[in-house]
Every structure is written in C-alpha cells, then in structure tokens.
Symmetry: D2
Subunit: 344 residues, 4 copies
Amino acid sequence: MKVGIIGASGYGGLELVRLLHNHREVEHIDLYSSSEEGTQFSSKFPHLSKLYDRPLKQIEEVHLKALDVIFASTPAGVTTEIFPPLIGNGPRLIDLAGDFRLKDPDVYAHWYGKSPPPSGAIAESAYGLTEWNRDSIRRAQLIANPGCYPTATLLSLLPLVKERLIDASQLIIDAKSGVSGAGNTPGRMTHFSETNENLSIYKIHEHQHIPEIEQGISLFSNEKVAVTFTTHLIPMTRGIMITSYAPLKSNVTEQHLIECLKEKYAHSPFIRIVTETAKFCTKQVYGSNFCDIHVKVDPRTNRATIVSVIDNVVKGAAGQAIQNMNVQFGLDETTGLTQVPLFI
Amino acid sequence: MKVGIIGASGYGGLELVRLLHNHREVEHIDLYSSSEEGTQFSSKFPHLSKLYDRPLKQIEEVHLKALDVIFASTPAGVTTEIFPPLIGNGPRLIDLAGDFRLKDPDVYAHWYGKSPPPSGAIAESAYGLTEWNRDSIRRAQLIANPGCYPTATLLSLLPLVKERLIDASQLIIDAKSGVSGAGNTPGRMTHFSETNENLSIYKIHEHQHIPEIEQGISLFSNEKVAVTFTTHLIPMTRGIMITSYAPLKSNVTEQHLIECLKEKYAHSPFIRIVTETAKFCTKQVYGSNFCDIHVKVDPRTNRATIVSVIDNVVKGAAGQAIQNMNVQFGLDETTGLTQVPLFI
Amino acid sequence: MKVGIIGASGYGGLELVRLLHNHREVEHIDLYSSSEEGTQFSSKFPHLSKLYDRPLKQIEEVHLKALDVIFASTPAGVTTEIFPPLIGNGPRLIDLAGDFRLKDPDVYAHWYGKSPPPSGAIAESAYGLTEWNRDSIRRAQLIANPGCYPTATLLSLLPLVKERLIDASQLIIDAKSGVSGAGNTPGRMTHFSETNENLSIYKIHEHQHIPEIEQGISLFSNEKVAVTFTTHLIPMTRGIMITSYAPLKSNVTEQHLIECLKEKYAHSPFIRIVTETAKFCTKQVYGSNFCDIHVKVDPRTNRATIVSVIDNVVKGAAGQAIQNMNVQFGLDETTGLTQVPLFI
Amino acid sequence: MKVGIIGASGYGGLELVRLLHNHREVEHIDLYSSSEEGTQFSSKFPHLSKLYDRPLKQIEEVHLKALDVIFASTPAGVTTEIFPPLIGNGPRLIDLAGDFRLKDPDVYAHWYGKSPPPSGAIAESAYGLTEWNRDSIRRAQLIANPGCYPTATLLSLLPLVKERLIDASQLIIDAKSGVSGAGNTPGRMTHFSETNENLSIYKIHEHQHIPEIEQGISLFSNEKVAVTFTTHLIPMTRGIMITSYAPLKSNVTEQHLIECLKEKYAHSPFIRIVTETAKFCTKQVYGSNFCDIHVKVDPRTNRATIVSVIDNVVKGAAGQAIQNMNVQFGLDETTGLTQVPLFI
C-alpha cells in the first residue's frame, strides 16, 4: 500500500508516521505539507533521522489520486476543501480532523464556527468509532475519525446506555487530557512554565466534542441526550481519562455493568475491561491502541462511576485511524498496532 | 507565642515551619518527633540550613504544657492518644490529622478503621473550617483542622447548598490532587517513574474524606446528603482542584450563584470568586492560603459546574491551621499568611 | 519607599511583585508596561486578584522620577534607552536585564547583537553581585543585576579562584536551568509537549552569559580566563544548578576548599556551604534567595567538582535585585527576603 | 526461539517484555521471578492485560536449560550465582546487571561491594557494547550487557579517543539521567514530591559505572585513563544525556571529529551523528534503540563538547541486550528494534 499523510508535521501526523513505519502492508509513505513543502522532514524532526530523510511534498490532486489511502491530520476546515474532489476517485480517505464528524451541518457550524463540508460528502462518510461501526467503515471511502474525548467517552458509555443499565439523561462527564491534545502550536495554555506543576479547567460546557458525544450516543444507542461535559488539562504529554457519572437503572448491579461491557467487547482486541482497582491509570495504555475501562458502583448513592483511559494520539487519533484503514482493507484489525504500552 | 509542632518531618509539619517562620507573633518553634528525637532538623532537611539547625525533641507532656499552641501533623491515631490529656491544661491544640473531625465515633471507626478519641474530647473540639466556624474556633481549645479535599469542597458548595440554589441530593464531586497529599512515605503510588506522565484514579467512592464532607454540609447548611466523590492523582506536587456538578433549583441563574458566593465571602480575605474563565487553575493559589472559586451554568442541561482550587498543604493543611490559630488568639486572620501565590 | 517595576508582566517582574509585596519598607508599587498600558493586572494574572486589582501604567519619565527606586525586567535594549536620562535624577535604578552588565561595549555588541548603552552610563553602574560588591552597590545609582547563570557560577567559583586553590585556566562549567529562565513568551523550546519528559542542550559555547562570567572572574579575582560553558534545559520551572570542574592547585585538599568558602561567606546570610552529600538539589533553595554550594574533590583525578544551586527567578533575578536595593538604602540585607524554601 | 526473562518485574525486565513481544523470531517468553512466583503477571502490571495473563515462574535450572536464550535483569549478585552453572550448557546468557562487566575482580569488589563471579565465567563473557565488540559477542555464550551510562559515554567518546583526536587524560563527563535508572523500588530519591520540579546531583565521583567506562576506553582504544564522572537526576522518567569535555589534540577541527564519528558508525544502524544544533535532546531517541551523538568545538578554549543521548531502558539496557541476542543468533541487528522514537 502507498500511503499519504497530509499534515505530517502535526502531532497526529507524527504519530501516524511512528505507527505506519512498522505496518507490514505499508510499502511507502508520502509526507505532505501545504506550508513547509521542500523542508527535509528529518531536519525538522531529528528523531526521524535515518528514517525519513526526505522532503515534505506539495499537496497536488494528481499525486494524491495515485495513493491507496490518505490520512489527513489538519486543522478543521482543510479537509472540507481537499477531500470532496477525491470522493469516488480512488484513495481511501481518513480524516483525523473534525470536518466530517457531525452529520448536522448546523451543529457543525455552531460548534466549530466554520462552514460545513458539502452534504453529499458528509453522507458518504462513516464515523470511525471502529468497535461500533465496522460495517460502515468497511464500505465507506471516507472515514471521519472520532475525536479523542468522544472515543474514550463513547467506548465506555455506549454499552451501558444501549442496554439501559444507566440513566443517560443525567450523564456527567469529567474529562482530563494531557497537553499533546492541544497540538504543536505554542501558546499560553501549553507554555511549560505555566502548565507544569499546574492543573487547569478549560472550555467548561463549551468543548466542540460535546455534540460529537451526543450524536454518538444517539447513533449507536438510540438515546437522545444532553450531557454535562467539562475538560481539564493535566501536566503530562499523553493520555486521556474520562470519569463519567450516572444513576443506575433499577435493579442494576456492578456485576451487570461489568458483564455488559465484557460481552460487548469480547471480540474487540483493543478494549480491556479492568476489574482490579489498585491503580487504574493512563500509563497502562501509553503509546498503544488500547482503551481500558473500569466501572464501580457507589452503593451509598446508587450511582455508577465509569472510567476509561486511552492514549490520545493513538486510540484517540492515529492508532484508531490505522485500525480503520485495516478494517477498510480487510486486514486483521491489529495489523501494525501491536505495540505494548510503555508503563514506564 | 511559643509554638510546638508534633510531626515536624511530615509535609504538613514542614509547611507549618515554612509559614510560621515569618509569623510576627511567633517567637519560638519547638520541633517534636516521636521517632527521630535528637536528629538535627537541618541535616535531615538541608533546605532549612541556617534556619533550623537544632535537634528534634522528644514528645513530653511537661514540655508541651508550657507552650501556647501545639500543632500536630501526624498519622490518624496519634493525637487520639496525645491530645486528650492536655485538654483543660493550657495550650491551644490544632490537629491537622483526621482524629477529631468526625463527630460520630461509629462513622470514624468505619472510615478510618481505628478507635475514635474519647467522646468528651470530641465534644470539646471545633471543626476548623475557618470561614464557617469562627465563633466556635475562637472559643475551643482543640481544633480539628479540616481535610484538604473537604476544605476545597465545602468552601465552594456550602453557600449554594445553604441558600438552596443547587440540588444537593444529586451532588457529584470529582476531586483531583497533587501527589504531596499522599505524604512523605515512599510507595508505589508516589514512585516517580510510575507517577510522572501519568494520571490515576484511586479510592473510588471510598475516600475517608467523604463522611467529613457530608458532615460539613449537614452542619453548616442543614442538608442531609450522600455525595458521589472520587479522587484522582495528578502528576504535580501541590494543588487540589474540586469539580462539582449539581442541578440548579428552579429559576436559579449563574448570576445568582456568583452573587451568593460573593456575598457570603465578602469579608473573607482568603476566598476569591473568579469570574473570568480564561484560565482557572491550581497555580493561581500555589504556596498561598487562598481558595479560588469559579462557577458556570450549563444552559443546555440546567446544571452548575462549581470549581475550586487550593494549595493542599497551605489552605488544605498548614495555612488554615495558622488561620485558626490567628482566630483563637484574636489576631488578624491573615497574620503570617500574606504570601503571594507563585504563579510560575 | 515608592517602587516602580518596568516589565511587570514578565517572570522577573512577577517575582518582584511577589517578593516586594511583603517588604516592610515598600509602601507602594507602580506597575509599568509599554505594551499593555491600561490592562488590569489581576485580570491578566488571576493569582494576583485582591492584591493587584489595578491597571498597568504607561512609562512616563515624569512619573518615574518621583519614585525612590525603579526595577526594570525587560528584554535587552530597553533600559539602554530608558535609564540613561534618569541618571543623576533621583530614583535608584536596578536593571535585571543584560544592558549594563558588560563593561566593554564591543563585547556587549558581539554577544548581544545590540548597540551598547552610552559609556558614561556604564561607567556609573555597579555590577550587582551583592556578596562581592557591596561598597560599589551602596554608592551607585544604577545597578546591573547579574544574570542567573553568572550568579550561581561566580558565587561558587570566585573564592576558590581568588585564593588560587583551583586552576581557573581549565574551568569547565556545565549549567542546567529550569524553563522559566526562557521567559514568558511561548515558543518551541518551551512548548510543554516537547519540553516535558525531555532534556535538551542548547547554545553550546554560545550563551551570552559567558563574557559576564569571565568578566566577573577577572573583576573580583584578577584572573583572566576563558571558560567552557554549556547550558541544558531541565524539565522543571524553577531552579539552576551549576556543576563546575577544575584541577586543584598543588597541595590543596577538599578541606581547604570548604574552609575557603566558609570563611569568605561567614557574614553572607544567603550563602550556605553544604557538606552533607546525601541529596544536593535545586529544591533546597526553591522560592528563596539562598545560594547553596557544595564541593567535592576526586582523589583519583585531583580535580574538584563544585556545585551550586539557586532559584533562578529569586537569587538569579528578583531576589538579588531586592537584596541590592536593601544595600543601596542601608537596610538589613535580608529585609523582605526571609522566605523559607519550598522543599515540597 | 524460546526466551526466558529473569527479573521480569523490574524496569529492565518490563522493557524486555515490551520489545521482545514484537520480535519476529521469538515464539515464547517465560517470565521468572524468585520472589513472586505464581503471581499473575498482568495482575501486577495491568498494562499487560490480554498480553501476559500468565503467572511468574520459579527459577529452576532444568527449565532454564531448555531455553534458547536467557536475559537476566536483576540486582548485582544474582547472576553471579545463577549463570556460572549454565555455562557450557546450552542457552545464551545475557546479563543486564553489572556482575560480569568488570574483568578485574578486585575492581568489581571495590566498586560493587560484592564478591565477584568465578574468574572462569568472567573470562568466558564478552562485554556487550555491540558496535565495538560484534565478533566477541557472536562467539560468547555469556554477554555482560553494558551499563546505561557507559553505553552512552563510550559510544560517543571511543572513536575520538581511539583516533587520538581528543586528550583522553583530561576527560570530564557530566552525566544526566531520568529517574527510571534508579529502578522500581520506592525510596527518597524517587519519591515524586521530592523529585518532581527538582534537579539533584548524586554519587559525585563515586558511581560504579566509572571503572566500567575506564575499562571500556582501555579495552577498545588502548588508552589508560582516569575520568571525572558525575551523575545528575533529571525530573523525567526515561533518557540519558552525557555531556563530555576534552581538549582537542593539535590541529584537530570540529570537522575532523564529525568525520571520525561518521566513518566509525557508517554501518551501525542505531548510531546517528547529528550536526544541526537547533535542539539536541533525549526525546529524539525516546522508546527507541538509537544513540544520537553531537559534537561542537569551542574555538575560544580549543576544547570539544561531546554530547550523546540514549533511552536508558532501551539502548542502555533491554534494547542493546536484544541487539546482542540478534548478533549472537546471526539475525539482522535491527530485528525487533525498529521502533520509531516517541518525540511527543
């Protein structure tokens, strides 16, 4: 397979390079950049010396069409322009940005403050939450790869909401992310001296991943919900933890929740239901495509606390994108994604 | 004033030393340790060279009685033994441990797994949440200084619960703490290589501060509640953030919440109600006795998200203890506590 | 005393505010900014709410002249313009930038790439390495406050070089700094995701503090030297450690080195000679004006390793500036600088 | 190949598991532990759930003999007992501990404070600095895998010393390591609250890697030297940087140094000579088996500063051990070691 990466210099792009480098079906990777065409990739990123001593290429439609699959990891708005002309024309398209995730163009316009892509292109696309949408992903040319927060949130909540074990109308979702989720552009929120040894809350009730989570719950479990969702910035580079709270439905026990999750994900190699409570943490998935889930019922309040962790740049971005590529091309879902987490 | 610190080598003790060193009414500090009597304090802690080149003293009742005030920052169970004999006998007693916080001995025994102190001593003690209990603190010889989590939780929630602006029966409290809260004993949870670049959740629904929070809400707002409370370990040394969620009562707006908080704390120099949302973070109180509070209503769900931050070893421990001493001795509440936060 | 701070929004300025806030001789602080005049200081820095709810002022000569002392913490080049007109006209001037540090204008032009200040102004200024230059500092209107690296380097090496105990012609200086030394402007070198969990070397042999160190050695010990000096960026916010290496002169022992240091600094309250080797670290001076020094002789190679630590924004900037102000105004050198280090 | 890992729970062991998991020639991994036999490996380390849901095995000679290769990552002293009886009896033995590294038993006894292994076993062993000792490694049954500091130090210095381009008699080596080098046993030096936001110096002139470095220089370049070597603890988990200083020999230029390094390592896939100085840092090798080297001459002092970085648990331990296994078994040196560094 010949692969192209648009936005190779961003963190999503760099992680695609890292993971695809050892993917046995990938024979060549083209690196594209609109702003840095000609720059030697390994001069810009010395960690890729000896591996990618080649220049970034200009984005040209004719070259893109010759590829088997194109990943785009770009700011919102870019694939809205680049991808529609390629539909029906060959390469599989996997978009790590938000452009094609929201089916309702008004919702997209409201939360992203940008013009939505053409409705035909949206209709053609499949939402790439792999474990919940394999059939559509297999058939679709264009995949809207999920956001990092929605991935960890939906994977942990969907089985329980779908089976009506928890009351989805009262969902509280407390999200925590490492700083790489903010991307590679330096700014106040990512300035080391003000981020290190500090914990911030940001975009309270206002994160653009809120409608994506609500759409996902509606799409896969047929529940129409409005969630309370808040995001915190953790002084670490990688990792997301989602702590969700919901009342139990009548007669539901912790065991029911665990069994529901285990059953749903019995054939999903990247989902692990962890029942020990000793130390449940983001590092147990660091650098890997795993999503680990833990649930605990509070008998005093009859509420469930549901926790999930992912590596935001792997399962929350590049890893899931490759998992989707594997599904599209009929490969084993784990191809190129067998990295063991770096616990230390 | 002659001051004694029992447990001077712990993090609470070290912070008492740091803050009391510049308290203008304190003329002498005795440092006590049961296990390290005789050790030169500045040999053990080189950051105190030239300042505390003196040995740790043995704990002896006769010496303790000659002091004006004794702070204890010890593991649960120690002051249960040491403090009762000193009641009625002179020195003011300020306990940074949990021993005297819970009024109901059965609740203490259940959550702490230890024998409670004599009920007479508990009855004599005042709960040291300064802003809510100044009169009792002034009169009491023995102060049960609040836990770090309850301090930040109660200060932010009590006004809103007391004025019936939020529905306290559905309180969700998502707590996040720096690692110094775990104290100075090395262990798995505090081992750098497994704590750095990692985010953990621990003691889900099981933290011993839960009954203290519920008792505080009951004591000061007359609401009997069971809260869902979960704690996370943040890869930083100092700082606590509490993110609480509750439905609004009818016809309550964000403005009502802000005004209620501002009014309640109009004469409390350490409480700041922050209305800008740009960056609300733990570092804005770092090294200081401030508690900053921020609220935001989610109009989509009609819930409030209430956030508060403190420095866990200052307002959450040593700082509030000194604030209570100031109240006991009729000093200005801010004496010795005018440190400006270290934002960087 | 009425104090003005030019460049209050930078890290040096913020630290001046933190320390001067509790200085008993300071009755008022004016905050100046050329670029953000009118901005409410505590809106920009919420950690200063309730403390500095006042706007930044425009820099105007007439206002500056009414002050007793002016601190400037600005990029190189600014005080070259602002300070000369104020010489002979009232306020004491303390420059935390590099403009007036180098006596030779050609050297300044070469290492800073900027035009040097008027030679008359340079001649009027005193180099503010307090422990070595108190008389000149007392007399001078304008103080060139030393750089952070030169402060820690010179304090540890000068006594040994001056007494000819080490061979200054072979000095190797390996410098390590926290990230706050890079200031508050976001950029690649300070972007959290690339700085956290990372150790970098930068400006090898090319740091503009090299001529300042060489000039200081020449000025105070009469040795003309060229040093090898290299800087590393440590993933922490505050703190500098200087590890220096030099051959011993004949018949010199570790004990000689220690005694030389102790004698030289017997009356310097901020210098501590630490002889225990258990854990010598930057945190033992965190947030304080101390400079701690440790020496160790390697009997196998007959070389000395000399280590010093400071808090770069205190003794390396704002703290030493205030120490110099104290000297200028005949106050006790420690006034306003009695902060105990935050070891945790 | 059937592989055994003794000391699987340590950080060296965990990293062997991470890397060997994707090594195409390894069909089975046995995990041994003397102290935790029977413990489910993935219960102890949840990051290995679904991957290593199997118990730790007891160390028994008969089972060990059936393996093709045994890695030991144990405290000094353990393989001194376990390995000698296996010599001449089948499995290749790769020791990540220090037991067999020093050829002179007196030197070992002096620096390690332990009894050395039988001299016959030492004589049989090859020092596993792969790039310098491939022939001996291929032939030897027992490999003494180098220490983390010696690996990064020797790889950068050996070519320059061997070619007499720098004066090895005046070598100063300033070493900096992340905390994982201290292993997985909690203690004061690794307690998060005292290690985070802190930089320490330790074991000045006394690290047990000093004789290993001196032996390596002697062995491969025929120079007998005594080096000044000092170690610093950096507040990060992984990574080592070695900054070495030495005078140039006459008429040697920076270009000579670079060419010498490039020529020596022209056929070594894991060594990269980096000439750009923008940002040379540990993260450019994070999680990979690379050793990156950078040199810069200071024309003012005629000294060279030589810098090298490795991931201490990969090239400094488990990665180099696997590289040695590849050499022993005639595989391509990079088999299983093609991980791309995690720059973020």
